[in-house]
């Protein structure tokens, strides 16, 4: 292993990422077909996205809005004048025989993103239409299939392709860049940012070079990473593969490689040499797109809070710790919930604890998302107030969470229904403690003989007897008094 470590410090990794962001418009980029996911095959199609002869594309203004918003959030220059081009290649998922994309005048120019304290430059971001989907029949994959079936529901769905400069130097940083970008597009509300479902797709250009070299090595393009973890794994695998090639005196070949998450390896994609001769030319069916400053300013004014800003605000406004704030930023819905609930309570620490602890835990175990939960921010704030005023114990509150999530009922209503209000009546608790003492003469004798560790046992029994309703502080005090008698 010593030599492998030596080899890793001998080379520098150079990574550039190309991320396709599926824009959350209601309709496609150039026609009025719905973009709704999960429709039956070819239900979301029309003569335009099917590429029937004689049809004309008309640009979706919302998609342009989204592209500009993304450009602003990524510190890009927004082109005052941009245009569309045809990218030609033959594949059955592309009905027209060309994809409408942007070649030399992308809508967003140079920008950057701060990742792990470093600036990663963004080369450009451009609008383009998505392709359809193929199902290969008669075999598990393309190889051996007898024919293919084409579903063009996705053809024409707007994408924003965001290309980074080769500024990334480790797989960890690549992953952080992708995650940061995902958070931004989700905060902007322009994309679901779901790698598993493909609303976010990430390709990585990876090469290595001797430490200190200024020229880039030959790169390989990695595709088919369906999670943030697989982005990191695929890059690690590729770096190791290239080091081994170079160390054995061979040369890295420029190629596209398909990552296989199950095997943890990648393999070259078969492709014809000339596949990359796309013969771009300006799309004659679309006018150049003029973006006046007023349009950009209008969107600047509507810019929602971005992850970095929320992080600073959560720490500033509510005094949250770095960790708590970063979790609430990472999981946007959780952060939104917090913000709303914070209008009803000032016990922010309790709020984050409940949200990140029991509520997240219950949602996870019941395989639900926060959106599916009926729990309202106000109801959670009220429950916290009940705990703080000793109306219910923390143990009872924990028991209430699943019901609150499932039914949307208030803690007060549930406590009433199930008779769970905390008992703080001294007389009643004294009775319970006496009962426990009477039921366990042996333990009492041992305790009185000096085995003080048993105190917890008595308290536990008393809580159990009260079905969790007894005020724990009172139980502690009274049990102590009774046992010492």
């Amino acid at each position: 292993m010593a030599s492998a470590v030596a080899a890793q410090t001998k080379y520098e990794t150079v990574i550039g990422l190309e991320i396709h962001v599926q824009l959350k418009t209601a309709t496609k980029l150039f026609c009025s077909c719905p973009t709704r996911f999960g429709a039956e095959q070819n239900r979301n199609t029309c003569p335009i996205c099917l590429g029937n002869p004689g049809v004309l594309p008309v640009l979706n203004r919302q998609a342009v809005d989204f592209a500009i918003l993304a450009g602003l959030a990524l510190n890009c220059e927004i082109a005052p004048l941009t245009k569309f081009d045809r990218k030609q290649y033959f594949y059955p998922d592309l009905p027209k025989g060309y994809q409408i994309s942007q070649y030399d005048r992308p809508i967003c120019g140079m920008g950057y993103l701060e990742v792990m304290g470093q600036k990663i430059r963004i080369t450009r971001a451009h609008l383009e239409e998505d392709a359809g989907k193929l199902v290969h029949a008669g075999a598990a994959g393309l190889a051996g299939s007898t024919h293919s079936l084409v579903d063009l529901n996705r053809a024409g769905v707007p994408l924003l392709e965001i290309v980074s400069e080769p500024d990334i130097r480790s797989s960890e940083q690549a992953r952080a860049y992708a995650e940061t970008l995902r958070n931004i597009v989700r905060y902007l509300g322009i994309c679901d940012g779901n790698l598993e479902e493909g609303s976010l797709r990430c390709d990585a250009n990876v090469s290595i070079r001797p430490m200190g070299a200024t020229e880039y090595g030959t790169k390989a393009e990695l595709k088919n990473m369906n999670s943030f973890r697989s982005i990191q794994r695929a890059i690690d695998y590729e770096v190791q593969r290239q080091i081994e090639i170079v160390e054995s005196g061979e040369r890295v070949v420029q190629e596209s490689r398909l990552w296989n998450d199950a095997t943890g390896t990648s393999a070259p994609m078969r492709s014809k040499e000339e596949a990359h001769d796309y013969r771009y030319f300006p799309e004659p069916d679309l006018r150049p797109l003029v973006i006046p400053v007023e349009w950009i300013n209008d969107l600047k004014a509507k810019m929602p809070e971005l992850p970095e800003q929320r992080l600073a605000r959560l720490k500033d406004q509510f005094g949250l710790s770095d960790y708590d704030a970063s979790v609430l930023v990472e999981f946007k819905e959780l952060g939104d919930f917090f913000d709303e609930a914070a209008e009803y309570t000032t016990h922010y620490k309790a709020l984050t604890n409940w949200l990140m602890g029991d509520i997240t835990g219950y949602l996870k175990s019941s395989q639900k998302k926060l959106e599916d939960s009926k729990l309202t921010p106000k109801a959670l704030a009220e429950m916290i107030a009940m705990v703080d005023s000793s109306k219910i114990s923390t143990a009872i509150a924990k028991k209430l969470i699943p019901d609150m999530v499932e039914t949307g009922k208030s803690a007060e209503a549930l406590v009433e229904e199930q008779g769970l209000a905390q008992v703080s009546d001294e007389g009643e608790i004294r009775k319970i403690c006496e009962q426990v003492i009477a039921d366990n003469p042996d333990n009492v004798a041992q305790f009185r003989a000096g085995k003080e560790k048993l105190f917890g046992f008595f308290v536990g029994q008393a809580m159990k007897l009260s079905r969790g309703k007894a005020n724990p502080e009172l139980v502690n005090r009274l049990m102590g008094e009774l046992l010492k008698q």
């Binding site: 009025s32 008309v58 030609q88 199902v135 293919s148």
Partner: protein, 96 residues
Amino acid sequence: MITEETVSHVAKLARLELTPEETQRYTQELSKILHLVDELSELDLSGSDLELDSKQPTLFRADEVKQAYDREHLMKNAPQEEDGFFRVPRILDEGN
């Protein structure tokens, strides 16, 4: 000047199979056409750019769903259909 290699290359990209005679003929014909188009480059177009073509306002569409055709109707144009999919011949290469 257009060469036979260029014609062969473009034909390959366009998935066209040309005989040697056809390649020769198209090379000559395309050369003539390109020569004609070349005359345009003698025009003085200084000061004109994309901007010249951008004086007309861009046409936009509002992001509203409209569906004028059902699948059954659209499928009538398909040479082969299977269960609501377009059926295409076996694909020999990943291509892209």
